[in-house]
């Protein structure tokens, strides 16, 4: 079952409506405070229970925030006794008290340190046998992770700087990920996709100046396969154009090599 399916009409609590801060003592996180939890506009029954959960790996702690009609903020919420407080993520749940069904949820809320930029493509190095790279969809909400073969000598340096590697690998990676989004997952909305990483990648493509087709859901009524394929190709082309200096560097090196031989 794909996580993006929403058969029960569960509503999404937008990140912009939540504000959470850590409290530290002696350099370690000991608690958190919720300074904003805005559920207005979701039309929730006032008696619905509201919870905030802090979690990471095997750890989970739940805090009772009262009801949708009367939020009781127990901040500061004590995190002492949790093994990885600095790495915690948060989940907000609104639950119907009668049958325990989820009415609204905001999940995978992480607290960014100031100035920290979010990578849309984490890179890991691992022994891939005779393969140079592959994309695994094992990040948050099955987001993509680029795995590069750690057996290649000096690969961490090559992966960051080598023009030949960047020219060969990254366009193919982008093509693979966009194709996965459209033809494996299906993007349920190009403006507010329910899968966060789809939204990140759509923003990335928009920044490249490529117009996004209205329907990228392969199961949608008006899905146009040719348009989707062209969008993927245009996106890859735009990425290559943006990084044309890498291609020029690669060409220059090739020319120098051929002159030497």
């Amino acid at each position: 079952m794909k996580r993006k399916l929403n058969y029960t009409g569960r509503m999404k609590i937008e990140r912009k409506n939540i504000s959470i801060n850590f409290i530290s003592e002696s350099g370690g996180v000991v608690a958190f405070t919720v300074t904003k939890l805005d559920l207005t506009g979701l039309n929730l029954p006032p008696e619905a229970k509201v919870y905030v959960e802090a979690y990471y790996r095997t750890e989970l702690r739940r805090f009772d925030f009262g009801t949708a009609g009367s939020i009781t903020n127990p901040s500061p919420c004590d995190l002492r006794g949790m093994a990885y407080p600095e790495n915690l993520k948060f989940r907000i749940l609104v639950v119907a008290p009668s049958d325990g069904k989820l009415l609204a949820q905001g999940d995978r809320i992480s607290l960014k340190k100031s100035g920290e930029r979010k990578s849309i493509l984490p890179v890991e190095f691992s022994d891939l046998g005779n393969e140079i790279w592959l994309v695994k969809y094992e990040g948050d909400a099955d987001s993509p992770i680029l795995i590069i073969n750690s057996r290649i000598p000096g690969i961490q340096n090559i992966a960051c700087r080598d023009a030949q590697f960047l020219t060969y690998v990254y366009p193919a990676v982008i093509r693979e990920i966009l194709a996965h989004m459209v033809f494996v997952d299906g993007v349920d909305s190009i403006t507010e996709p329910s899968v966060d990483w789809h939204g990140d990648w759509l923003r990335f493509v928009r920044l490249l100046g490529v117009e996004i087709p209205e329907i990228l859901n392969k199961d949608g009524d008006n899905f146009d396969k040719q348009k989707a394929l062209k969008w993927i190709e245009d996106s890859v082309l735009a990425f290559c154009s943006t990084h044309s200096h890498r291609f020029q560097e690669y060409i220059r090196r090739q020319e120098e090599t051929s002159l030497c031989t």
């Binding site: 079952m1 996580r3 399916l5 929403n6 058969y7 029960t8 569960r10 229970k49 919870y51 959960e53 979690y55 990471y56 790996r57 095997t58 750890e59 989970l60 739940r62 006794g81 949790m82 093994a83 990885y84 790495n87 749940l93 639950v95 325990g100 069904k101 989820l102 949820q105 890991e124 691992s126 022994d127 094992e138 990040g139």
Partner: protein, 235 residues
Amino acid sequence: MHLRIMLQEGVQKFAQYINDLKINPSLQRPDLNSEPSSEKFSTEIPVDETKVFNSKIELAEYLHACFTSKSLKREDVLPLNGIWTWLAYIWFDQFAPSRAGTREIKEDAKYLCSSDYRDYYRHFVAGPYSIYSLHGHDNSRIFLYSSVNQHNDFIEQFASRQFIISHRNIVEAISRLYFDYQKGQPKTGAQSRTRPGNIRRFVSVIQQFELTYDIYTMDPARILELLPDEFNHWK
């Protein structure tokens, strides 16, 4: 010997040793029990380097006893990757046994404890301790019944999923469903990919529940009750 923390230099040497073993299986384990490879842990905890464990649960029990004897809680030791890497180092021969002149070497994450949240459960020492210290003896058995160097399907399917492994009630439901307490092993066929109600199906169904119900407040019996008919065979 007392518990030590593997330091960066020790981690690098240990990683190199693991890598070199793939080429030369008879290579001697380097001595990493001194600085700058490792340092003493702040509390003196005796650790028996020669102890042989018959299962992951024995290993987890042993460590749990070591830590609790010094009033150390899981949150005091779990984040210290260097402890887990050092423990994998001292018991390395159990985690990478010799067979017919070769060494059974697994991926690095099984020996070198990583901060990556996706890898914690793969580590041969941190993974079992993490599960045991959270879920206790009875509900850990389904994950930790196998030998210390065997990564079973229950760990891969359940412990790799934060939502499942962090919910005590789901873990208890899993144990009730798939573990044969009399035989001390999982029920036959639970790991099959084709039998109705197998563990992969459980994952799919619970992921659906996760988006539908507030699982946290349900007791294990209620979770089992909600499962579709295909799981009846296992109840």
